[in-house]
Amino acid sequence: MAIDKETVKYVAHLARIELQPDELEKLSGQLHDILGFIDKLSRLDTSRVNPSSHILPISNVLREDKPRDSLSPDKALENAPVKKGNFFSVPKILE
């Protein structure tokens, strides 16, 4: 899979990462190499292997519907960069 600069730009935008032109250059190359490396896996014959969606052979981990203590609003908001009253405050979102 070829990774061109446009793809890197697009992925960077989706992740809200701002890249400088030289970073774009560098990352395009690196991502290309990484994906090429991973691509080796596709040489394996997996036709007899069931698809897996989890690395651990466990399933159905559930918990009972029992309330437990939550954080206090003070604690929850302790590290918020900006807060107002008991709310987290963020730059205005236009609906």
């Binding site: 981990v61 029992k66 609003p73 709310f87």
Partner: protein
Amino acid sequence: MKYQTVIGLEVHLQLKTKTKAFCGCAIDFGREPNSSVCPVCLGFPGSLPVYNKEALNYAIKVALALGCQVQEHTKFDRKNYFYPDLPKNYQISQYDLPLSRYGFLDITADGKPKRIGITRVHLEEDAGKLIHETEASLVDFNRAGIPLLEIVSEPDLNSAQEAFDYLTRLKTIIEYLDVSDCDMEKGSLRCDANISLRPEGIKELGVKTELKNMNSFKGVKDALNFEAGRQAELLESGRAMEQDTRLWDAQKNITVSMRTKEGAKDYRYFPDPDLTVFIIGQEMISGIKDSLPELPGLKLRRFVEEYSLSEYDAGILVSYKKDAEFAEECLKQYPGKDKKNMANWLIGPLLSEANTRNLSLHQLGVNIDELTSLIGFVQRQELSHLNAKSVLTQMLDSGRSAQEIIKERNLLQISDTAELEQVIIAVIRENEKSVNDLKNGKANALMFLVGQVMKKSSGKANPKIVQELIKRRIDNA
């Protein structure tokens, strides 16, 4: 040109579990902002979500009630996007292995039954709540992580009315299951709609718009009606339809484009490594199936068969579970095989009392024995229907018995012919003209004379008997 409207609905349902989907924070809507939050639902690094057993139970109930096939293998995926109400920058949802697929919901379209396909019912979580101020937006994460079900219909709906009917029936079923409050105004049920138009007879779907921001079933209907008109006008004028997301403005009664800048959404779904897969065995499914209550569709059929009710009457009685249970208790306790009288009382006077009192049927607190006794008075022609209705009102107001009220207000109909004859003789004497009219074959005159007798007896005379007595008297004269 004639167009066919094609609508698909996406319903989000908050499950009313005690705790959130992936953490033990209590779900309690009265709480102050950010007081029901923890490292899991705030998306703090290192926290681990574990799914709520009860939420899974509820979800399977809904899936089964909608005739879905519950999938043996199901898993959670991350849906990635940035928005301040989403603390993890991804929503835990389901992508390629949803909880269930291939269900259906039966509605009525133009008086005929119509089956609407349900594509899937899957699990996900709610986001936080945003409050927009002039300078900033404020976030409350109490709602973040509440278990949601997404119920996606096939594009099988062909009018706003059908969409409305689909939502009403869906709500009735969910209420029967008692797994959600289903209150659109409070946001426990939300609905987005996809709508497109295509020329009649053409198979290919037209360009669709997605409608959001409706906060009542009526809002959904109005928005769809408006949008169908808008699209028809656009197509008619030859302009191209653009795929768009539009917001319903309930004040102005129009849809407005959101003008989203970004192209196709790219959520980069991938399996959530923090959560294990779920294997839902037949045993679990049949266990839950057995625990399902009788659903409204089946109850309606049974009411029609067991109590010989009309489909319309049965439909009214089954639309709320508790009312249906109350109604059935009344029908069961009503003596005899013919239950029509009790059914008429339930749908007529009782329902109208409930409406005036802003209660539902079962909340009226009516004693079934007393109700049966009241209907008995009318059946035996000892009480007029009109008076019986006013006795019912008084019974509900005071909690006193029918017998007591009828006696106190002296409402028993006079069926004693000797007593009635006295009144009739007086009426005939005072209304010579009408008597002559009657003799000359004017049928109206009879009703007038009966009315006079009723008046003289303060409404207590039994009109049927009076009618016969007058006729006999005049024929023999």
